[in-house]
Amino acid sequence: MGKEKFLEVKNLRVEFGKKKKKFIAVDDVSFNIYKGETFGLVGESGSGKTTIGRAIIRINEISGGEILYKGKRISGQIDKDLDKEVVKNIQMIFQDPMASLNERAKVDYIVSEGLYNLKNYKDEEERKAKVAKALLDVGLLPEFASRFPHEFSGGQRQRIGVARALIMKPDFIIADEPISALDVSIRAQVLNLLSDLQKRMGLTYLFIAHDLSVVRFITDRLAVIYKGRIVELAETEKLFQHPLHPYTRALLSAIPIPDPRKEKAKVLKAYAPSIYEYSKDKPKWVEIEREHFILANEREIDEYRRILG
């Protein structure tokens, strides 16, 4: 894979509220996403993973840092043409297919809403053709366009959600917990669909999830986020094999393993943030080995270096 930087997030900071009520949701977060890869973001609820996704797609305003898309800044004030390009090229897939589709609109309208907004089609005929193609791409029949969302099962609804993103011909898709609300057997279908589309259309994914077993299966590189800060980032397999940060270790030890002997013998690792003394020696975001980043202070960096040998 050519390591072309596709999206760069630099020192991103997102705040909600003002003055006394100010809450820092994302603090000093930096990472790159390369072209054609699947980049995972995991963390507990409230850790800020969704906020990062929403900041990239410009739903949440950012308070500091910048976001570059193909080398161009897309955060803050940008001109109209770039805005249009971003709206078209970056798409999002949401978590709950029961809640994210308009119950009162037909699939035809739901899927073409993006087209209507950007008016990038010549006539009705072309729009219909695009809808039909998007539905076929996700394994649904073009006839389904005249139906309502309630006529579909959970897995099919999520396919509609994917079709609605694909119709814009994006090159970057943010999938925010795309399979969390689905049944086990349907999860596999949607995961297969996403990887198949990636291969066929050369898409780049940002995959946000809390289910670590799914993340391990689908992502190439993975960032672990805790309370608004990324604590560790590495290639997925490397991170699962040799987690360094104590939070990553605790998180990985909590994953239920579908293997009774291993699961019943496993020891939980707890993460107690209070035992780490950060008031003097503040943690920094460092590359501890090639392509392996970690949030640590000087003392910890020495320790991790020793572990890595």
Partner: protein
């Protein structure tokens, strides 16, 4: 081990828009005292309906059509008044529900909600009741119970709320505790804590626990035995390791193979084609046959009986019949079987 609950050829039907739906189709199940049983299956397979019928909590359009549920020599399937059910519900069999956000009353303090259960089931009053509540809150791992007693559900996090729900269930001193997707709405780290809590309480109060879940990781953690449900019937049941490593029913295979943990990166994951059968219609043969690419001819015609794999393990599939041809299970199942053989020499 002693049987604590016995389900015999149970049929549960629902009336929906003038049509009759057969949600549970002649299911039989024995639950032993002190065990931990996990019921797995996809949504709509009837796992919640089955366990709700143990407590008389079926929706008003549903009823037990045939069969028996024997609890302590009584056929509780025959109960039809609230008065009868109140001797069972809470006192004998209690339930922890899925969504801790919705199963607590937002307008009452946590203390009062737990106290309700204590007063009703243990007959305590006033200060005694309060003391019992504080003890239970401590038991389920809630710190500063005195202060937490006066707080409302919105002041609790998801994991803490689930602990309160568990406290209410345990406060009734039941024999059987049914946990319906107890950790689905929670984060992994919290999930691990709640599962540990449930296991500790099981030991402390010598409970029999029934878990309903579709997360096979949770199952591997908590279950002594596993019952796999499909389309209103238990298609396979056995000890945890027997079902995991030596599953026999094609549906069990499909369920296990579709786990991302057993998949190979970069290759498509095994996925089950089609949808479960429509239970408004009479199901013929093996309910899974239509989605099973390797189904036998007989699977479409005659419903398979249970075949015994071991004294503790049985499955409803024709593949176990002596006359059945050898059918190759999926790759990932073969790997599990190798582990199983290594385990048993």
């Amino acid at each position: 081990m002693e049987k604590i609950l016995e389900v015999k050829d149970l049929v549960i039907k629902f009336k929906l828009r003038g049509k009759i739906l057969k949600a549970i189709r002649e299911a039989s199940l024995d639950i032993y005292e002190g065990e931990s049983l996990a019921i797995v299956g996809e949504s709509g397979s009837g796992k919640s309906v089955l366990t709700k019928s143990f407590m008389g909590l079926l929706d008003s359009n549903g009823w037990v059509d045939k069969g028996e549920i024997i609890y302590k020599d009584n056929n509780i399937a025959k109960y039809n008044t609230e008065k009868e059910w109140l001797t069972i519900r809470g006192k004998q069999i209690a339930m922890v529900f899925q969504e801790p956000m919705t199963s607590l009353n937002p307008l009452k303090t946590i203390g009062n909600q737990v106290k309700e259960a204590v007063e009703l089931h243990q007959g305590l009053k006033g200060d005694d009741a309060k003391k019992a509540v504080l003890e239970i809150l401590e038991d389920v791992g809630i710190q500063y119970p005195e202060r937490r007693y006066k707080q409302y559900p919105h002041e609790f996090s998801g994991g803490m709320r689930q602990r309160v729900v568990i406290a209410i269930a345990v406060a009734c001193r039941p024999n059987i505790l049914i946990c319906d997707e107890p950790t689905t709405a929670l984060d992994v780290t919290i999930q691990a804590q709640i599962l540990k809590l449930l296991k500790d309480l099981k030991k402390k109060y010598s409970l029999t626990t029934i878990y309903i879940t579709h997360d096979l990781g949770v199952v591997a953690n908590v279950a002594d035995r596993i019952a796999v449900m499909y389309a209103g019937d238990i298609v396979e049941i056995g000890k945890c390791e027997e079902v995991f490593y030596n599953g026999q029913h094609p549906y069990t295979w499909a369920l296990l193979s579709s786990l991302p943990q057993l998949g190979v990166k970069g290759q498509p994951l095994y996925s089950i084609k089609g949808t479960p059968p429509n239970l408004f219609n009479e199901v013929k043969g093996d309910a899974f046959a239509a989605r099973n690419t390797k189904a036998l001819k007989i699977d479409f015609e005659i419903r398979p009986p249970y075949f015994e794999v071991s004294p503790t393990h049985k499955a409803r599939t024709w593949l176990l019949d002596k006359r059945a041809p050898q059918v190759e299970p999926p790759e990932s199942i073969k790997i599990l079987r190798q582990q199983w053989r290594r385990l048993n020499g």
